[in-house]
Amino acid sequence: MAGQCGLKLAVSLITAHFGDLVAKVCSCLLRRGTLTLQEIIRFTELSSSQVKNCLLVLIQHNCVQAFSTPRPAGPGGVAKAVTQYMALFDNILHRMRFAKFLAVIREDLGPQACVAHVRSRLGLDAGVVLEAMIESSGQQKAKDETPGNI
């Protein structure tokens, strides 16, 4: 479902969550496919440090996957591994439903018991989600927990 509307939705999600800079990098990766760091810097016309920070954020939130591929040696050169970055379109769209994920996990496992599960399901940075969860579970504890109350 990587149509134009899907791309626009993904970019708008990233803009809402992480700002314009990160969204620019993400949009570049979504529209042009897998790119190296230098190519991203060239296409986005941002500074290299800005692009690096954006990529760090996107990788941390499992929206971009980095992988290295060995490139054949040039004339007289040494074969080196080149790192490329790929946007994970589905994962970006899933961010829309994180609230639902949390509700389901909380219902299944209880508010305190889902640390490891959140980590495994939501990738590197479940910490973000987890902090929000703990905050919301703390608020829930303040109220009376009646059965059936999510």
Binding site: A16, H17, F18, G19, D20, L21, V22, L37, S47, S48, S49, Q50, K52, N53, C54, L55, L56, V57, I59, Q60, H61, A66, S68, T83, F98, A99, K100, L102, A103, V115, R119, L124, A126, G127, V128, V129, L130, E131, A132, I134, E135, S136, I150
Partner: protein
């Protein structure tokens, strides 16, 4: 030769017109009458589950917007601001933006988590590894696990530092340009807009030079 080009253009235009004419014509009806629509959901009555989900979603989005992951482009300081001496009255000006926590505090910048080329720019020392922990109310077992992890990547950081010297090929500045305010207020620690070529006090001369270009 110019006509040839125009002719081709016209030919293409005609081709496109013919394509649309091939589709069979249906007279356009502005307000079709005999159409059955499904019942629209009544949004005045929101089920409790939906309310909880909406509240949760809004909380998550606010959390992300105010987190260190929300990267903003630092507004380029105007030249007059560079040259201005900080005044005593500036201390009482209300800040427009609240401080964001540094991105480096929340990322484990190890080669196992991120590609080395993203970490090479500058060594990011983690001042407060507590923030890396996912659950700050952790049990003692998790506490011990994290303590061990800290020790293990203190050793890794030294290795990364040695590798960095051999690997880096880029021409960027060694200083990190994180586009948020750091926890220290000193200009030295802000690492923004360090440009050794510019002379702040003589910028006006350079402005005249631009008109010749």
């Amino acid at each position: 030769m110019a006509f040839r080009g125009r002719g081709r253009g016209r030919g293409h235009g005609r081709g496109a017109l013919y394509d649309t004419r091939i589709a069979h014509h249906v007279p356009y009806d502005d307000f079709p009458e005999h159409v059955s629509l499904p019942d629209a959901p009544d949004i005045r009555i929101i089920p409790n589950e939906a309310k909880v989900l909406i509240a949760s979603k809004v909380r998550l989005e606010n959390f992300w917007k105010h987190s260190s992951y929300y990267l903003e482009e630092a507004a380029p300081k105007t030249k007059s601001q560079h040259a201005e001496i900080e005044r005593f009255s500036d201390r009482f000006k209300t800040k427009k933006q609240s401080k964001r926590e540094s991105l480096a505090d929340y990322l484990k910048l190890t080669p196992s988590n991120f590609p080395p080329e993203l970490i090479h720019g500058s060594r990011r020392v983690q001042h407060d590894s507590k923030r890396l922990r996912w659950d700050q109310d952790s049990d003692e077992q998790l506490f011990d696990v994290f303590a061990k992890l800290e020790e293990s990547y203190k050793g890794r950081d030294e290795n990364v530092g040695q590798e960095k010297k051999g690997d880096s090929e880029e021409e960027e500045d060694a200083e990190k340009e994180v586009e948020q305010e750091s926890t220290d207020d000193d200009d030295y620690n802000q690492n923004i807009d360090f440009d050794d070529d510019e002379d702040d006090w003589n910028m006006e001369e350079e402005e005249h030079e631009d008109t010749y270009e």
